[in-house]
Symmetry: C2
């Protein structure tokens, strides 16, 4: 894409109402725009990153055999009353529709998916079943101050699983843990992300979270110095020792909850009388699990972990473009490389703007595309390549540089 | 995909509360599920069709150089007050957030895109600019009775263009018309879709709609028998003759508005004092256009036009799967073909269920995948191929049938 065509521009001013570094950088670099507290627009660059994250999540969740659907945001009051959450879910947005009926904006989708699955699942032959969506959620947060990390409107991958018994749920639960680890590895936040024990419910003593250590986090976790398992601060008084290795030396850190998995058990199936007929013809309650990842929060977390004084440093799979090609004063050569890289299937943002080298290089650092290539008279027929998080630059000829870029993303 | 794994099932019962054939068929075949009046879930098959339609629209809109973003649904009251629509837009869902502030669920996005574009567009050098999104809209419709054709929550592609003057807007307007025609051609509803003159505003005498003739439609159009241009019934009393050929013989038909394009002129730029500096240093108001297509409505319209007694008949580009492979009693051969077709990049729904041939063939007709292939002992090592909207069946060997399928989609 030609950068001159991009309708957004970078900004030098740090937005005063944003406390997290990720939100400040994402706004300054033109990835997102704040509409109101906790509510953001994804601009063209941000939308490309969001789509990359969506692709990673979709691929890994499809690999564990989940089927994708799309549930609505407007939901009737009745199922929320059935589960008791019309009263207890304090962040639920409630409104009245044209027929004077009460409706809620879905803050989560157990109240929709459970009656929906009940329409199709009758027998043990229909189980297990895994269903997911990537969809908007709404929560009327009193303090939405951390940018995309805690929004009032946010995009979530929510997966629900339906089982005959706790054993079968446990098997799938383990598969989801592996899938989540792959997602966080592909997003390059795995080294800072800890499998965390958190409060459970009546069915299971614990739920589990994936917590990424960061000063921008609103959570706190105790990380076991021996096995690196973490415990959410909320349950630390009850849970003295590490539930995995039983040691009791921990390091306390602030963290962002990038994923959450929960054994719901019979909670929602009981509320909706959702049963199946087992092999012996007996009716039994369905056992459920639910598994969430917030896409905007994940995007922000990636930025929280990958930035420097100059701006963002995107991991390979999430970058909006694979290469940032900057023409200083050698347009003909730059255009030639632009064309060739596109032919090779490499995505490029080509800075063809009539601006000073300084402005262009600063913008490039701020935007954070992993590979920067400069075309300038000084280098004659060669190009200067720099990896965003390294200091050195190297000169390459046309064919060499194409191979360098391809190898980087291979 | 193995049909035994699909969590939805077909239903024989026609839903009593659905009046349109498309909604009845989409529900019976397991494409969508009704949550409440005007609010639906896209089930796995429906979601695949929705994604296909999204792909067609995105490709054609990107070809006319629009940049994709994603705006939120929660919007502050203030911009709606500025444009006067907080009071006049009767279908607007209004609610209160955690801080007791009034917000609206966006029913359209002029109130968001205009102040957003104003942040980045200052000069004639920044113009023209084209921005689109594919996103949820909410309208508190009193009567939402036509399934996906008129929903309370619905997915829309909305495109906005920003120009220096009316001439430049006109040029882009013509490009959008061509892009829309390509979209409707790829969805195979072009023969029934008419370019329609509808009421304009202060800036332009007319807006234009793309109306598809259908008994399920809530609109009525007068189609010129000479040049096939249509006039929306709403303006027929003012507009006696055809605005294109000036003849006055028309045919009145019910129709569905599948697309709408509108010259907004200065309406929203004035409300937000959105100006640019022209070549002579003068401040001038931005000239805007807006262009919408409802994805669910388009999906329903395709079904309204393409069905028979047995069920849906999908066009090539929108079908959830390219081939429906049905095993009657020759599983080994069916599996072999399933594998080979997948290797060739053909998407297949493979009915591996342990059910009678009659049930499977009825389900296949109802679901409407364009190519049906039967594997049965009767045909020995051959397969029986049937095109959904044709009567005859033909037998082919393994390699032959792969070529037949590939050629059909070539």
């Amino acid at each position: 894409m030609l950068q001159s065509q991009l309708f957004t521009k970078t900004s030098k001013t740090t937005p005063k109402d944003e406390v997290s570094i990720s939100s400040q950088l994402l706004i300054k670099a033109g990835y997102i725009d704040k509409l109101m507290s906790g509510v953001y627009t994804y601009l063209p660059l941000g939308y490309l990153v969001l789509k990359n994250i969506e692709k990673i999540i979709r691929e890994e969740i499809q690999l564990i055999n989940a089927q994708e659907i799309l549930m609505p945001s407007l939901t009737p009051k009745d199922p929320w009353v059935k589960t008791g959450r019309w009263k207890t879910f304090t962040d639920l947005y409630k409104l009245t529709d044209a027929n004077k009926k009460d409706v809620a904006l879905a803050a989560t989708h157990e109240e929709v998916i459970t009656p929906l699955a009940k329409k199709f699942i009758d027998s043990y032959r229909d189980l297990p079943t895994y269903i997911f969506q990537i969809q908007n959620k709404f929560r009327s947060e009193l303090r939405a101050k951390s940018g995309l990390i805690r929004g009032r409107e946010f995009i979530m991958k929510d997966l629900y699983s339906f089982h005959q018994d706790a054993n079968d749920l446990e098997k799938y639960y383990q598969k989801v843990i592996k899938a989540y680890n792959k997602i966080f590895t592909r997003c390059e936040i795995d080294k800072n992300t800890f499998f965390t024990f958190a409060s459970g419910g009546t069915f299971s003593k614990y739920s589990h979270e994936f917590q990424t250590t960061s000063e921008a986090g609103e959570d706190s976790i105790h990380i076991c110095t021996n096995c690196k398992t973490a415990i959410n601060k909320e349950i630390k008084t009850e849970q003295k020792n590490c539930p995995v290795c039983n040691k009791n030396k921990f390091e306390l850190k602030k963290s962002i909850e990038v994923g959450n998995i929960f054994k719901l058990g019979e909670k929602y199936s009981r509320a909706f009388k959702f049963e199946y007929i087992d092999k012996n013809g007996k009716a039994k309650p369905i056992i459920m699990g639910c598994y969430g990842i917030g896409l905007g929060r994940l995007l922000s977390t990636i930025v929280e972990l990958n930035n420097d004084q100059g701006g963002i440093i995107w991991p390979k799979e999430t970058t909006p473009f694979q290469t940032h090609l900057i023409n200083i004063d050698n347009e003909k050569t730059a255009k030639e490389l632009y064309k060739k890289l596109e032919q090779e299937g490499i995505s490029i943002l080509y800075d063809d703007r009539n601006l000073s080298a300084g402005i262009k290089l600063n913008d490039s650092d701020l935007m954070g595309i992993p590979i920067r290539i400069i075309s300038s008279q000084r280098n004659k027929d060669k190009f200067e390549l720099k990896i965003r998080n390294k200091k050195e630059t190297t000169e390459y000829g046309l064919n060499q540089i194409i191979n360098k870029v391809k190898n980087y993303y291979a």
